[in-house]
Amino acid sequence: MLENYELSPGEKKFIGWHLVFGILALSIGSLFGPLQAFEHAGLDLYPYLQPLFKSYYQGLTLHGVLNALVFTTFFITGFLTLTVTYGLTRPLRYPKLNAVGFWMMVVGLVTTAVPLLMDEASVLYTFYPPMQAHWSFYLGLTLVVVGSWVEGWGFYYTYYAWRQENKGVRTPFISFSSLITMVMWQIATLGIAAEILTMLLPWSLGWIDGADPQLARTYFWFTGHPLVYFWLLPAYISWYGMLPKQAGGKLFSDSLARLAFWLFLLLSVPLGFHHQFVDPGVPAGWKFLHAILTYSVFLPSMLTAFTVVASLEYAGRQRGGKGLLGWIRALPWDDPSVTAQLLAAILFVFGGIGGLTNASYNVNLVIHNTAWVPGHFHLTVASAVTMSFMGISYWLIPYLTGKKLWKPKWAVIQSWIWFVGMIIFSNAMHVVGLLGAPRRTPLGLAPYIPEEWNGHLLRVGIGGAIMFVGMYLYVFIVAKTAFAKHAEPATVEIPVAEAMHDPQETPDWLDRWVPWLIGTVALILVAYGPQLIDQIANISLTSPGFKVW
């Protein structure tokens, strides 16, 4: 049924606009990454950015907000629009509703960008009070989040309409997993919604005198951890539901893929205290509970590792790969979209191991707020996720524009460049972090740097330089493709992997929402309820705002 389905030109355009804003944000936000890396290596280019950009921290705020919040949210809502409608083979139920959501996000982006560019909001992408940004920064972020909710509601209406038309049919996997991603996001973002609407926005407008910085952290990390699953799950949708097809194979297990997504819904939210292991205002017992829950969310990732590798192995063997590892070489490494996602998955293995370390309660004391942490999440969000999105865009942009990808060979090279740069960069960041180097710090200005850090900091700079090349080669390739005047027409088929077993055989309880939603809410109430009640009941709005940059 899928083969004949084609998105309308209007839908393609709509998704395309998501990518335009997302990739534009990525290309501006990424400018600062190499500058930070060079600064660490002893080459401080910030004096030359005056008066356009005032400080390392203005740049770091732009880097975090544009890359981790804006690029991801725009790309993901666009991609999910595709996976929901194409998977269900039906158009959006209320396209205008989705358009409203999207343009809200754009207005929010502009509203956030203005204070950021004017150095009125250099509070980093975690915006911890009592550092206080201009109110428009908080308002803009709120609009981006609410806009993404509205797009999500549009997905739900579409799903509901499909369900009426297709009773008893299993929801196609790519749509099913997209809907779970969106539901998880809407539950998760209640944390920053509460933080901004009940505290930061009225406080920055002067309506209340003080903020409660500890409660704000608790709200923030209620959202902050599932945020990383909001980035990751769309990559998983591609790894489970699309990559096997691109590699010439099938999805190994439809039911375990679905189970993994339910477990992510269930377990993504109630473990945010693992970002607050060293916070003073959270009881240690609650931190320990969240540490254990964090281990449990590792399980669906292990399921994913197995299913994705098994699907790829099947593909490699179908292509004639022999022996224990020969199937790896037999995969289509000349396809830039496949290469990008395979390399993304390899880097993610290291990211996963590091993540387990971070989550390990008292082991966190060793690495908290050190360079180890950005070393870790450049393997996850900046590699597993970003490289997967790059790989997706290598077929998606030709699909949307009808133009062939500009020089696929260069696109393959692009992935390898990023991969090599990232290995150097992230290894150096991990090591120097273990030696005690703090994150969020222009180390060139720090008076306490021991000699032994310098070699590693140099490697941070070298890795960053290679990543710089990898990033802008990507931007160049997709821009060349999208804006080509005389490109060859592309005939792209959206890759949707078949499952080895008919999805209709997948048990019914893996396609039913109500029990899983009840479980999710119940677990959140157990893991967060008592602490939230306690911290809110004892709220003390004593901290006035500070502008210290």
Partner: protein, 161 residues
């Protein structure tokens, strides 16, 4: 349309799941032993203070070391943009020091290099951690949370003699 309701799991995958669960249980046991038996503890909620007055009244009005008994100290540290008070402290080797740290303005961090002491400093809260240092030397404590323009210059020194 078939409606088979059993879930098919490959035998290899079953073993993989068992192995994963086993590993995670082991990790959980390891951090539990380290945390509760060996006492490598994370901070817990301690007490609240008013960040607007903490620099004027109470123990942080006069930050620094207090000797409780020979070899046993309390260190009251006040973080502010962009310095720690006190900037330097000296204790004999083998001392047990309990830190009580708070901030009078924005959030900061406190990491005592080459030890496991690492804590977030949140205005309105008191971060308490205890450590014993046997090895003589100069230990720097650095600010590990972005706290404004001169954050990179915020550090102090604990001298263990």
């Amino acid at each position: 349309m078939t409606t088979k309701q059993s879930m098919h799991i490959d035998p290899y995958e079953k073993n993989w799941i068992r192995l994963s669960i086993g590993l995670l249980v082991m990790f959980a046991a390891a951090v539990a032993v380290a945390g509760f038996a060996l006492g490598i503890q994370v901070p817990t909620s301690e007490q609240r203070v008013d960040p607007k007055t903490v620099a004027e009244v109470g123990p942080w009005a006069n930050p620094g070391l207090r000797e409780l008994s020979p070899g046993k100290y309390e260190a009251y540290v006040l973080a502010q943009t962009w310095q720690f008070m006190p900037r330097e402290m000296t204790v004999p080797a083998g001392s047990e020091i309990t830190f009580y740290i708070t901030s009078k303005d924005v959030q900061h961090g406190f990491k005592l290099q080459d030890t496991n002491l690492n804590v977030q400093i949140v205005p309105g809260q008191v971060s308490k951690l205890t450590i014993t240092i046997d090895e003589p030397g100069e230990y720097t404590y650095i600010c590990t949370e972005y706290c404004g323009l001169a954050h990179a210059a915020m550090f102090g020194k604990l001298i263990v003699e």
